[in-house]
Structure formats: structure tokens, C-alpha cells
């Protein structure tokens, strides 16, 4: 195998037949809507569409036939292209993850797409090579080979794999699925997209509205709105349940060997993500508001090389669906390899009172913004909006105030074992545990108001995560810096200045200034 150029699986050509789907589908739809009456405009549109899709399939076919890959002693190499030849390579020891994905068409054909990622960040994200596609067996073999060689390059002896299943799908978890807003949103989006498509083929939206109104007959406006709302809600819940089944079918989080965590899930599209254990920098437990009220949480991995550009990969750091909080903490502990879990939140230090004031001020801005818009509309457009303003104010003010207090109570930070922990957020509460040996720098930011109230936002910089830093928000300056200094001893210390300030009686300012000057000169 080593050193030989290999080809992609020829069955991938069949996948590209899917590009014929949209033109055939649109012709069929058009025929359906117009009863087979094609006028010239429609024919031109359909023709252009068909040509575009034919071009795309030709391009894909050429790419497929000219792609070759090989594994040498040190490199994974990929070359492709007919006129514009590309040659890419990754050093084996830099490979951090190898994923296999297969959508329904792939699965019928017995093939899978292989993605090979490194742990580096460039301005355009981590480097990633994609092989679309290999036979499933070849893909799995390639993955084993690459990960094994990536590991042996790091000279760690291979051990007998332990059969470690950390979590399996529990169908009771499906009760949390409707708690995401995506269900209802997706219905709205689908309906919106459908009306656009229908409109494109000359069926106007008024016709559809007429049909809806006729359907309701003599019902009043309120009844129509309530019914439509309920229908949307029910459809939304159903779609979120369906989405849950599709995404989390046969879900397993396991440790197939000493070096790897693996997530497998999916019904129609099977997703497999393998994360090199030495790339793990921590775990995050996330609780969107509704989930938190229901006592649920999601666990996500903080690992380097998990920020690919592909859309499917925006979710590759997700380790579990919404599951009960204790279960989430258990899994977080297993992934963090520290018990009790660093994310179980008993030992966190709270933040000073000015942080609460900042949250109230923010809540006030939200209230003012919403009410301001309504009042402005009331004065210029319709006085009805003025009524709407005070009706909105009644629930809005207490809700925002409650969220502010909740956000303040969420704030906390602490050190436990090998991890630094920070927690924040009311709309989405995050508890983040980052390995202190994964911290590759610090950032301290102070806004004007933070400077006035003695606060700072201290961020631990890591090579993992989409933003690359994890914030301790609105912590007292002294406390935050001591925390950072303690978390990574030696890094921040040379740039810190320690001052003994008497807490009982204030010191004369002149004396204070001279002490500081002497200290400065001494350094």
C-alpha cells in the first residue's frame, strides 16, 4: 500500500447523477403546476438550469477521474485536476482527525467521503483534504492507517484497545428535542422557500393565500392566527423529533483505543468523527435557556483541528445531544479524564457586584431599544403601536431584569485539577473547562466602564475552538489576574505588579504614588 498512487472509487460517478435531479425535478414540478403547458420563457429557464447542472457534473467527473492519493513514509499526498493540476500534502504526524461521512446515496453505493484534517489554524481555518469518495472498506482502512501512523510518529507505544463506550443513545432523550427553536424555524423557512419556488414558476402567492382563506371559510382573524400558530407549533415539534431521529440514530460516544474518541450517529447520513485524544484541550457543557429550565445540557469537545470550513463540520465538536445535566457532567468527566467533572459547578468563585450592575445596564438597553422603536413607530406610523409599547413593557421589564440577575449568578471561575473553568451566559449558559497546559497566552480587555468599576475580561487563549479564546467575563482585575497567574504559573508573573493595599484605613495618595515609582524602578 505504501507509496502507491490510489484512485477514488468509480462508484462515485453514480453519486454525481444527483446533479441531474434538480433539472428533472424542476421540469416535473413545472409540468405539474401548469398541466404540461411549456411556454418559451419557461423552456429557456429550464434549459439554462439543465446546462448548468450538466457542466457541474462534467467538472465533478473530471475531478474524480484525475484524483489520486497515496501514503508515503512521511506524507499523505493528494493530486487532482486535468488542466489546473493541484498537488497537496500533509505530514502524517500533523494529522489530527480522519472522518468518514456517507449520505443516503453513498450508503446505497457502499462508499464514503473521507476528510483528513490537521490541527493548524490559518486565516482560512484548519487545513483539510477531502476524498470523495472511497469504498467504505478502503476508507476505514485508510483511517486506521493514518491515525496509527500519526500516533506512532509521536512515539507513543500502542496498547491493546479497551472497549470503552462512554455513551449510547437513550430514547428518553428525545423529550428534549422540541426544546430547540429549530423545529418551528425550519417550518417557517420551508414555507418561505416553497412560496418563492412556486412563485418562480408563475403561481402567485395571492392564489395560495386565497386557498388558505377559503379553507378557513368564515372563521375570524383571531381564530385563523391561533390555528396557524398551533399548526406551526405542532409541525415544528414534529420536525424537531424527526431531525433528532435522523441526527442521533444509533448514537455512540466511545474510546475505541487509547488515542481516540469517536462519535458515531445518524440515520440517513451517518456521521463518524474521530478525535485524537492528545488534541483534546477541554470540554464545554452548554445549556440554552429552555434546555436549562428542563434540566438538560449538551456536551461539546474543545479540541484543536476541529474547525473545518465544511457545513457538516460546524457540528463536529458536538459530543452528545441534549441530555440530563448529571449525565452530561458524567460524560464531561469521562472526556476530561477527571472526576468529579470540572464542569460540575460547585467550586466556582463568583464575580464582584459591579458585574451585576453591568448586566442590569445591558438589560435596560434592550428594554429601551425595543420600547423606543415601538414608541417611535407609535408617534409616526400608528397610535396602536403606543398601546403595544406598554403592553410589551409589562412582561419585558421583569424578564430582562430576571435574565440580568441570572446572568450575574452564572458568572464564575475556578481551578480544579488540570483544568481552568469559566461559566457565563443566561440565554445560553456555558460551562467551559480548558486544560491549563493547553493555554497558549492571555488576553485582558477592559472597556471604559470596566475600568471605572475595577473589572476586566480575562481570556485564556488556546489553539482549540472557533474563536480560540475562552473568557472569564467581568472578573475583578486583581482576582482575574491572580487566577490567570495561578492557572499557568510563570507566564503572566513577570508582567504583574503586586501592591499591598491596607483594607482598613486608606493610605495617603502621595505615599502610594512614591511606593509605586520605586517598585517601577526596581523592575
Amino acid at each position: 500500500m505504501i507509496g502507491q498512487w490510489q484512485r477514488l472509487d468509480r462508484r462515485t460517478l453514480a453519486v454525481h447523477l444527483k446533479w441531474l435531479g434538480p433539472p428533472i425535478g424542476s421540469v416535473a414540478l413545472y409540468a405539474l403546476f401548469t398541466g404540461g403547458d411549456f411556454n418559451r420563457d419557461a423552456l429557456i429557464r429550464l434549459g439554462v438550469l439543465t446546462c448548468c447542472f450538466l457542466l457541474v457534473s462534467c467538472f465533478e467527473a473530471v475531478q474524480l477521474l484525475t484524483t489520486g492519493y497515496r501514503v508515503t513514509e512521511e506524507l499523505f499526498e493528494l493530486r487532482k485536476g486535468l488542466l489546473l493540476r493541484q498537488h497537496k500534502s500533509i505530514r502524517l504526524e500533523r494529522i489530527r482527525r480522519v472522518d468518514l461521512t456517507a449520505n443516503p446515496i453513498h450508503r446505497v453505493l457502499g462508499i464514503a467521503v473521507v476528510r483528513i484534517g490537521t490541527g493548524e489554524h490559518h486565516s482560512h481555518g484548519a487545513q483539510e483534504l477531502k476524498l470523495a469518495s472511497l469504498s467504505r472498506a478502503a476508507g476505514q482502512q485508510l483511517r486506521e492507517e493514518l491515525l496509527q501512523r500519526a500516533n506512532s510518529a509521536a512515539t507513543e507505544p500502542e496498547q491493546a484497545p479497551e472497549d470503552g463506550v462512554l455513551a449510547k443513545l437513550d430514547w428518553a432523550w428525545i423529550r428534549y428535542a422540541p426544546l430547540t427553536a429549530w423545529g418551528v424555524l425550519s417550518i417557517v423557512i420551508i414555507v418561505g422557500a416553497l412560496t418563492r419556488v412556486v412563485d418562480w414558476f408563475g403561481v402567485h402567492i395571492e392564489v395560495l393565500l386565497d386557498a388558505v382563506i377559503r379553507f378557513f371559510g368564515t372563521a375570524s382573524t383571531t381564530e385563523v392566527f391561533v390555528t396557524l400558530g398551533l399548526v406551526t407549533l405542532v409541525l415544528g415539534v414534529l420536525s424537531s423529533l424527526v431531525a433528532f431521529v435522523e441526527e442521533w440514530w444509533n448514537y455512540r460516544l466511545e474510546r475505541p483505543n487509547k488515542h481516540t474518541y469517536r462519535v458515531r450517529r445518524g440515520l440517513l447520513t451517518t456521521r463518524q468523527v474521530a478525535i485524537d485524544r492528545r488534541r483534546m484541550r477541554g470540554v464545554e457543557v452548554r445549556q440554552p435557556l429552555l434546555m436549562r429550565l428542563a434540566g438538560a445540557a449538551r456536551v461539546e469537545a474543545i479540541a484543536t483541528g476541529l474547525t473545518g470550513g465544511h457545513e457538516e463540520h460546524t457540528k463536529i465538536h458536538v459530543l452528545t445531544p441534549a441530555i440530563p445535566k448529571p449525565e452530561a457532567d458524567r460524560i464531561a468527566a469521562a472526556v476530561a479524564e477527571q472526576f468529579p467533572s470540572p464542569t460540575a459547578s460547585t467550586r466556582l468563585t463568583g464575580h464582584p457586584k459591579p458585574a451585576l450592575r453591568r448586566r442590569f445596564v445591558r438589560a435596560a438597553w434592550v428594554v429601551l431599544g425595543v420600547l423606543g422603536l415601538l414608541v417611535l413607530g407609535g408617534l409616526t406610523v400608528s397610535p396602536n403601536l403606543l398601546t403595544a409599547a406598554w403592553i410589551t413593557a409589562i412582561p419585558l421589564v421583569p424578564i430582562c431584569a430576571a435574565l440580568a440577575v441570572d446572568a450575574y449568578r452564572a458568572l464564575g471561575h475556578g481551578l480544579t485539577g488540570a483544568y481552568l473553568v469559566t461559566r457565563y451566559g443566561a440565554i445560553t449558559r456555558s460551562t467551559v473547562a480548558v486544560r491549563t497546559d493547553g493555554v497558549i497566552g492571555w488576553r485582558v480587555v477592559r472597556s471604559p466602564t470596566q475600568r471605572l468599576s475595577g473589572l476586566a475580561t480575562v481570556s485564556a487563549i488556546t489553539s482549540a475552538g472557533k474563536r480560540g479564546c475562552y473568557k472569564v467575563r467581568d472578573v475583578g482585575v486583581s482576582e482575574g489576574l491572580s487566577f490567570a497567574d495561578e492557572a499557568v504559573p510563570g507566564l503572566l508573573a513577570p508582567f504583574l505588579r503586586r501592591r499591598s493595599t491596607p483594607t482598613a484605613t486608606p493610605v495617603g495618595t502621595e505615599e502610594d504614588v512614591t511606593t509605586r515609582n520605586i517598585l517601577d524602578r526596581a523592575q
Binding site: 490541527g119 497566552g441 472597556s447 486583581s478 489576574l481 508582567f495 504583574l496 499591598s500 483594607t503
Partner: protein, 168 residues
């Protein structure tokens, strides 16, 4: 004096100030930004000519704000922007209203570049950009003389070459 004392910790300013010419560079930047904003406003308001006195008020307001920005920001920045390199780390402070301090250990540095934009070139200035493996963005030191910038680049490159590993 009192018996009970508490140790307060704060960040000390980095050792070196940037070149004083940086103030003129920031002023030029501010001037361009303000002029651009006024230009856009002028275009928009000449399009909608039937708005009465509001456009004039808005334009005057932004002209005054732009002038204030132009006069205050560069000097404020100059007081804040500082840098320091030690045997083990780069330490910078930057910003004016929102201020930022960054510390990056040399062992985790991936690349060090010197950069000169057209405006910086005009004022004989350079920047140093230090990237790490993080998506949080590079550490920048702006408004240096080319010599100082080159010195920093040499120091950092020499130190980082000594450290093995891929800095993640």
C-alpha cells in the same frame, strides 16, 4: 497604618513605547475614516433631498465627532500602546477606549512577520505580527521604526527556533 493588608495585583505597562510618529499615522487614519463617513453621508443625503434640516444636523454632528476623534484618539492611543519582549514571552498593550493586553509565550509562536501598509510607509513605520496556533488572532505591535521592528523579528525568530513541537 493598618494591620490587615491585602495584595492587589495589576498589570504593569510594558517597557517600551511605540515611535512618536505613530500619533501622526493614527491621525491620518482617523482623518481618512472621518472623510469617508462624511462622504457617504453627503451622497446619501443628496439622494434624499426632501428631508428638511435633519441631514445638515446629522452631518454637522458627525463632523464634530470626527474632529474630536481625530484630535483625541491618536494621543490617547500613544499613551496606551506599549510593547515588551522577554526571554520567554511577548507582552503588548493597545487600544484607547477599549484597552487590550496580550501575553504570548515564545514557545507557542508559529510565525513572526514584519508588515508595512501604505500609510505606515508614508510615516516611516512598521508593524510586527506574531501568530500563534489560536484562532483568537495574532498579537500585533504597530507603529515601530523599521529598525526596532526588525530587531523584534530577529529576537523572536531566534528564540522560537529553539523550541521543538508544533506549538499547539
Amino acid at each position: 497604618m493598618s494591620q490587615s493588608t491585602e495584595v492587589e495585583v495589576e498589570l504593569r505597562p510594558p517597557l517600551h513605547q511605540v515611535n512618536p510618529r505613530a500619533r501622526w499615522w493614527w491621525t491620518a487614519q482617523a482623518l481618512l475614516t472621518s472623510l469617508l463617513l462624511l462622504g457617504v453621508e453627503y451622497l446619501v443625503f443628496s439622494w434624499f433631498s426632501d428631508w428638511g434640516p435633519t441631514p445638515t444636523a446629522i452631518t454637522t454632528c458627525s463632523a464634530v465627532l470626527g474632529l474630536l476623534y481625530l484630535l483625541v484618539m491618536p494621543h490617547w492611543r500613544f499613551r496606551v500602546h506599549r510593547w515588551e519582549t522577554s526571554r520567554d514571552a511577548v507582552y503588548t498593550s493597545s487600544g484607547w477606549l477599549w484597552q487590550e493586553w496580550r501575553v504570548a509565550p515564545l514557545s507557542r509562536i508559529q510565525t513572526v512577520d514584519m508588515q508595512r501598509g501604505p500609510l505606515q510607509l508614508l510615516f516611516g513605520l512598521s508593524s510586527v505580527r506574531v501568530t500563534t496556533a489560536s484562532a483568537a488572532g495574532p498579537v500585533r505591535i504597530e507603529g515601530l521604526t523599521p529598525d526596532a521592528a526588525q530587531g523584534i523579528v530577529r529576537h523572536l525568530t531566534r528564540r522560537t527556533q529553539d523550541t521543538p513541537g508544533d506549538a499547539t
